[in-house]
Symmetry: C2
Subunit: 156 residues, 2 copies
DNA sequence: CGTCTTCTTTTGACTGAGTCAAATCAACGG
DNA sequence: CCGTTGATTTGACTCAGTCAAAAGAAGACG
């Protein structure tokens, strides 16, 4: 489940290329990262990779169902490899850290809206906002003035 | 509850100005609109209002708790006047239309994550994705090729 | 009613995230 | 090994939103 990316790509009908393997490698190490961080990290493995190539790779991966794109309000899009299970996210208002929350389909009562207003709902997206453990400590130590903007520390 | 905006603004410690009243008027008519649409619509009432003024007004309104900002993935931010109640949104993948879904606090079982991973959660944001009634009809009439990009029709 | 202070708006330049298209390059099937 | 087809590079571009300085208006005070 870690070096079988060759097969995963091929099975999805995608060619196996250095940029794609690099991006997959980065995503495996960092569960929730933005495109820019991926580009920087991937360049450590494959120096000549361009930012646009990363966008291309990510579009191919999300299109093929190998990666998932999440877009927390107020920050750039993040990507993760966990696909297929309907899980949700905890986002820290302090440092932008994202954690996964399991939420099995069919076991989530409020994921069926009380009044769907005629909509055919096919997905429910849930984002929990709060402070991670570290930021709670940091805030109580330094007082209340030390708000860090969301996104600053994402995956960096 | 409609022409008392003067009071609402003043109570919030904000000055009563033409741009602000125009924006509030637009928001009252269109429940979920993006900044650009607000600017265009507000210009019908107050022609000299600039796009940047709209951003300023919206920042003031959201800061004062008179408006709420929502940011659906893949589209520009939308604004609404419904504040104070914890309601969520249905977004149409076809036309970008947004509808409100009531979800009273304390009555939403899955809004407390099973494993909060040490996070102090203060808000749960839920977005339901699907097709609105109109787009369901439109899709079955015209076949499957007529996907409209999200956001195109928002409030316009 | 007029003046003065302070908050708003305007104007205009700027950033950051992401897209698009043409040309070059590489994967992989034969 | 070669050719086809898909991927990456390069570079220009769009869109949403921010920032800062200057001009303007709201409302308090006399």
């Amino acid at each position: 489940m870690e070096t079988a990316w060759d097969d995963q790509l091929r099975t999805a009908g995608l060619r196996v290329t250095r940029p794609r393997l690099s991006v997959l490698g980065v995503l495996a190490e960092h569960p929730h990262v933005d495109a820019d961080t991926i580009a920087t990290a991937a360049r450590a493995v494959h120096p000549s990779i361009s930012p646009q190539a990363v966008y291309g790779v990510l579009k191919a991966l999300t299109g093929a169902g190998l990666a998932r794109r999440i877009e927390p309000a107020g920050g750039p899009a993040l990507y993760e490899l966990r696909v297929g299970d309907n899980h949700h996210h905890l986002v820290c208002r302090g440092c932008g850290t994202v954690a996964d929350v399991d939420c099995v389909v069919g076991q989530a009562p409020c994921l069926t809206p009380s009044d769907a207003a005629g909509f055919a709902v096919d997905e429910a997206e849930v984002v929990f906002w709060g402070l991670c453990a570290d930021c709670q400590v940091r805030r109580s130590q330094h007082g209340y003035g030390s708000n860090t903007a969301i996104g600053e520390g994402v995956g960096a």
